[in-house]
């Protein structure tokens, strides 16, 4: 008779695979994926489509693609950021309040695995649904209206930066979820960070602005169209990668001390 094979993982990775599977299932084995799959094209590509309908009468393909990229990356950046916060705000707070986090932590799973599984699964899924999927649709729209596509290497580059931008807000919200006890402050602080940034950008020194994600959204359409992009853009990109690592580290530290 075949016997059951016991799991061998230990240390931080104990339970990671199972927890990632559970997180992915919360997207893909419920209707959540379908809602996002419908929402993002409506929110981002719907506006691109309306503009396309207007422009096809008088616009040139160059102007049209240019306009499409501006709308896509501006809306994608802002809506995506809000979406990342909304989708992640309850992921840790909710489990702590409901008691499922305590239940899971009675199984042989590490607390690091619990947080990292949420980060990995939510990032991958959210990027697929809010970045990659609308990007494919916008390419379709470019082809439909103008019979041409934006330069793919630079479009891919801009998409990558947009993805890093969204992951930054996912990590920030996840970290806030380990620091606060309810959803309100989690969403409030994360959104406040973005709104505050839009106001502060005009008042604080340039070098500080370049350590934040705030200027990125404005610059993405230029990156996508391969307009001469100043080297400065890589500074906030590098900074938010570092910030993301810091946020996740804080989340791991805080959750490992949490009394459930």
């Amino acid at each position: 008779m075949t016997t059951l094979t016991l799991t061998q993982s230990s240390g931080w990775s104990a339970g990671f695979r199972t927890l990632v599977g559970k997180e992915l299932a919360s997207w893909w084995k419920t209707r959540r994926w379908l809602i996002h799959m419908i929402f993002w094209p409506i929110a981002i590509n719907g506006i691109v489509f309306i503009v396309g309908m207007e422009m096809r009468k008088s616009g040139t393909p160059e102007r049209g693609i240019n306009e499409f990229m501006q709308i896509f990356f501006q809306l994608g950046g802002v809506f995506g950021m809000v979406g990342a916060i909304v989708a992640t705000q309850g992921t840790i707070v909710g489990e702590r309040r409901l008691g499922t986090a305590a239940w899971v932590m009675t199984k042989p799973a590490s607390r690091h695995a619990f947080v990292l599984a949420k980060f990995v699964a939510n990032s991958v899924t959210f990027l697929f649904l809010s970045v990659l999927w609308p990007a494919l649709v916008v390419l379709g729209e470019c082809w439909f209206f103008w019979h041409r596509l934006p330069p793919m290497p630079s479009f891919g580059e801009a998409l990558g930066i947009l993805a890093i931008h969204q992951v930054f807000y996912l990590a920030l919200t996840l970290m806030l979820g380990t620091l606060f006890q309810s959803r309100g402050p989690v969403a409030g602080v994360a959104l406040g960070f973005w709104i505050g940034g839009q106001i502060l950008m005009g008042f604080i020194p340039q070098w500080m602005v370049l350590l934040m994600p705030w200027p990125l959204v404005q610059a993405l359409s230029s990156v996508a169209l391969w307009h001469p992009v100043n080297f400065w853009i890589w500074q906030p990109v590098a900074a938010i990668v570092v910030w993301t690592v810091v946020f996740i580290s804080v989340a791991l530290w805080r959750f490992s001390r949490e009394e459930l």
């Binding site: 059951l4 008691g99 459930l260």
Partner: protein, 317 residues
């Protein structure tokens, strides 16, 4: 060889801000026992369980489970434990089978068919086989509790920790849960907290009583129910027992004769100081009086409720 002790705590203490939820707990739970952990609400039962599961850190003291230190071997300990929370919450979008499958993922990596067989086995054990593929969103309290036992059993744990397993259940649900516990005792140690004394008396073999964060008693249930100090005999008589009572009071080994009457019969509680003398002479001494007839005679067996109330009130006084 592993020790015979499943749980051992030494001076285990937990303080929340200035409130001492648990104070210097020294507990020993033998393997394969059904250990009832009793106490009124707020006694520190759930805090103790959370400490044993590593969900909260002790302020002072330590605990070992199967000889492993809780502070350093938490993962290894959790591999050998099954846990059912007081108010079990699961992911509502999952079915019962998916919930147990999710739990199984922490313990088994395959083969797939064997894991599925194990999942079906535990669902069957708790009587959820026919509801296994229903979303747990619509489960009743009793069904959630059964699911809780199923998921706690998936790793065939050496120790099952149940926090108030029958508290929210109707009498049928309670009976079912106690039956399941009885079935599990052959293969596992069951440590469960409760304030339903009737259940404890039915299934436990050892009991600890906690009050205001302090342990007030720990003993095998038989010992606890026999009482401590002097032996008391419980005797029911018919006839005119007044002279027999007076005669008994002259004996040096009789401390007290407490008389009462129920439905026309006299009921005595005779407290003795010498067990051997009582065993040899007490019944004879009563029967020597031709005016009385003995209907019932035996050592008084306390109800757990009496013991519990005495201990709790004693601790409070």
């Amino acid at each position: 060889m592993e020790s015979d002790v499943a749980i051992s705590t030494r001076d285990l203490t937990k303080t929340y801000r200035s409130v001492e939820a648990l104070s210097g707990l020294n507990l020993e739970v033998r393997r394969n026992s059904i250990f009832g952990f009793l106490g009124p609400n707020g006694a520190g039962k759930t805090t103790t369980i959370k400490l044993l599961l590593g969900l909260v850190r002790p302020t002072r003291g330590n605990a070992t489970l199967f000889g492993m230190d809780l502070a350093h071997d938490s993962l290894s300990i959790r591999r050998r434990i099954g846990y059912l929370a007081q108010d079990p919450r699961y992911y509502d979008y999952m079915t019962a089978r998916q919930t147990v499958r999710f739990t199984a993922g922490f313990f088994y990596s395959g083969p797939h068919r064997e894991v599925e067989r194990k999942i079906s086995e535990v669902l069957d054990l708790v009587g959820l086989a026919d509801k296994a593929d229903r979303a747990i969103r619509g489960f009743s309290g009793g069904e959630r509790q059964r699911l809780g036992i199923a998921q706690a059993q998936i790793n065939s744990p050496d120790l099952l920790i149940l926090d108030e397993p029958a508290a929210s259940l109707d009498p049928m649900g309670r009976r079912d849960v106690l039956e399941i516990m009885g079935r599990l005792r052959e293969r596992t140690t069951v440590f469960y907290s409760t304030h339903i004394l009737e259940d404890v008396q039915r299934v436990s073999d050892t009991v600890a009583i906690l009050n205001l964060g302090r342990l007030v008693a720990q003993a095998p249930i038989g010992e606890l129910l026999t009482g401590s100090g002097h032996t008391i005999y419980d005797i029911e008589l018919r006839g005119a027992p007044a002279s027999a009572a007076a005669e008994l009071r002259t004996r040096p080994w009789i401390l007290a004769v407490k008389e009462a009457s129920t439905n026309g019969a006299a009921v005595w509680q005779v407290t003795v100081t010498d067990d051997a003398a009582a065993e040899a002479q007490l019944l004879r001494a009563i029967l020597a009086d031709p005016a009385v007839e003995v209907v019932r005679f035996g050592r008084k067996r306390f109800q757990l409720e009496e013991v519990f109330m005495n201990l709790i009130e004693g601790a409070a006084a």
